[in-house]
Symmetry: C2
Subunit: 340 residues, 2 copies
């Protein structure tokens, strides 16, 4: 694999926004983006953790207007391309236009893995704006590979240059990543990417499998700064790829220094695999379910893990939080009758 075949997108300034409650400052973004650019990281993503327009009571208020952060990053870099994430429904086409005006070079349009169709207009606009455009299929573990391929093909048909398999809950196992990437490589003409989370300590394993099967667009976060248990740790990935003889063009020492000197100090809590992040990956559910499940568990005197695992089995999705109480009541009832 030659140097130009593998492009890493650094997501600490976007996915990592979750880990620090969206409290990035202009100074932090400037120094980190500058450092990443000097280390030859090709793409740097900046947005609220839930994408453009995410700053809200529901998703968490950003300390700094994200457009100011994006502008600071654009100003800080010489070669790196600044990327934004957009979830249709949270962010709007207006915000995408604003970001493009600021000098953003890539947009990633993210939808639930079964809802690629809501990305049609946003992907089209992104292309019109001259942006490199990525379709980002979240919670990819929730559907069989056949369905994933169908949704990815939709995004390709809308004009996406790349489609990502996004393991939002860190729930995929290596053989499942292999099957998904292989199928997308077979059925798509465009680039295939992979975005991992480390809830099952498999982010690196899954990323290597994805690369082996032909994914050429890979996400990482320095010092593992991302939602849940964090993402594939970028500086570690670059070290591992180097040992495997896969060149990324990224300066390993510089990246290690950024992780240690610029990112580690702003972490509010370590990016470990805790009981909560593990159960989210094990159950394969949205992190937003956690608090609801814990409250319901308390109310019904049951274990929140049983609720989350059942929600995962039923493939409950975001917006269906009402079902959490129903599931909890059902588990409590079954438990009761088991004692009779």
């Amino acid at each position: 694999m030659s140097e130009k075949d593998l492009y890493i997108t650094e997501v600490a300034l976007r996915d990592g926004s979750h880990a620090i409650r969206h409290q990035f400052t202009i100074e932090q973004v400037t120094s980190i983006a500058k450092g990443l650019d000097q280390a030859n990281v090709p793409y740097i993503e900046i947005s609220h953790g839930d994408g453009l327009g995410g700053s809200s009571l529901q998703y968490g208020l950003s300390l700094t207007d994200e457009l100011q952060l994006i502008e600071a990053a654009v100003d800080a870099v010489l070669n790196a391309k600044i990327s934004v994430l957009l979830l249709p429904g949270i962010g709007t086409m207006h915000e995408l236009k604003e970001a493009a005006k600021l000098g953003v070079k890539m947009s990633r349009i993210a939808t639930h893995v079964t809802e690629a169709d809501v990305a049609l207009q946003h992907i089209a606009l992104s292309k019109e704006l001259g942006l490199e455009t990525v379709g980002f299929l979240m919670m990819s573990h929730m559907v069989p590979t056949k369905k994933l391929v169908e949704q990815a093909k939709l995004m390709e048909s809308y004009g996406a240059d790349t489609v990502y398999v996004v393991d939002s809950a860190g729930a995929l196992l290596p053989h499942q990543v292999k099957e998904r990437i292989l199928a997308l490589k077979e059925h798509l003409q465009i680039h295939v990417g992979f975005h991992a989370h480390n809830n099952l300590s498999l982010a690196m394993a899954n990323t290597l499998v994805a690369i082996e099967e032909g994914a050429t667009r890979i996400d990482g976060s320095v010092r593992c700064l991302g939602a849940g248990a964090g993402n594939t740790q970028t500086e570690v990935l670059v070290a591992v790829l180097d040992k495997l003889g896969i060149k990324t063009g990224i300066d390993l020492y510089k990246l290690m220094d950024i992780a240690e000197e610029l990112v580690a100090p702003i972490l509010e809590k370590p990016q470990e695999i805790t009981k909560d992040s593990l159960v989210l990956g094990y159950a394969g559910v949205y992190s937003s379910f956690l608090l609801h499940a814990q409250r319901a568990a308390k109310k019904f005197g049951i274990d929140s893990r049983d609720i989350l695992i059942e929600l995962g089995k039923r493939k409950v999705v975001g917006g269906q939080e009402d079902m959490i109480i129903d599931v909890a009541a059902e588990i409590a009832k079954n438990k009761e009758s088991a004692y009779v």
Copy 2:
């Protein structure tokens, strides 16, 4: 794979001793060992981080006499077998006898991967004492597979029931683990085990590869409590194996609770992959080299990473710390002449 085919040894109370500067108390060991036993963990290892007799100025003084800790663990468990680690040269046969008297059921005799022959007497004694006996080949990444097989066969010939591939520096890549486990499975009649470290974020990946290739004895540490970046995180491993349909007989919920409620609170610093742990895994060198290299780097005005990587290339081993200054001087000189 049936339930009885895979046995996990929990090493948080031994390898994890490094992570808390050997400050375990009797109360901590009692509660953790009791919890692990209730969760059906089959083997629990307890010793100073560097094995029996490790408590010293050189390796770090233990807060509590390890024999007291071992006794506490033996008393705390109903079914789990207590294991001890012994590095000939650090621990002695006398200490192994004392541990056996306390009710230990397994001993693991650890040597550098090229020095299996120093384990002859200790393995023989362990068998005489009626202990299940493991040969533990440390820094297994430092030799070609052929050499590893030769050394493992020595340990088998001394009477070991199991030989472990020990990735002490967390430096092995998945394909290297595969090659090693496959070769040992081919050439040995006894069980093959694998002990990972997470310096390259590959502990889980490597452990799964080892299991796939036939390793049936696997080490883990709850909450990743081990030297360097920690080991394969046991509660996460059990969750992943469960998702893969591989039964360990271990109660996942109980293990998660132990990690969160008993182990996390005693961590002195998070088990993250830091600049230091990453460079150790990348270079594939002993953690004891780190401080020496950093001092030498300061003295010669060079980067400590260059020294560590060069030490890794030269396959410098413990006891050869004098070479660190030589290597640093050489790098500084080459750097100087490069500027002329």
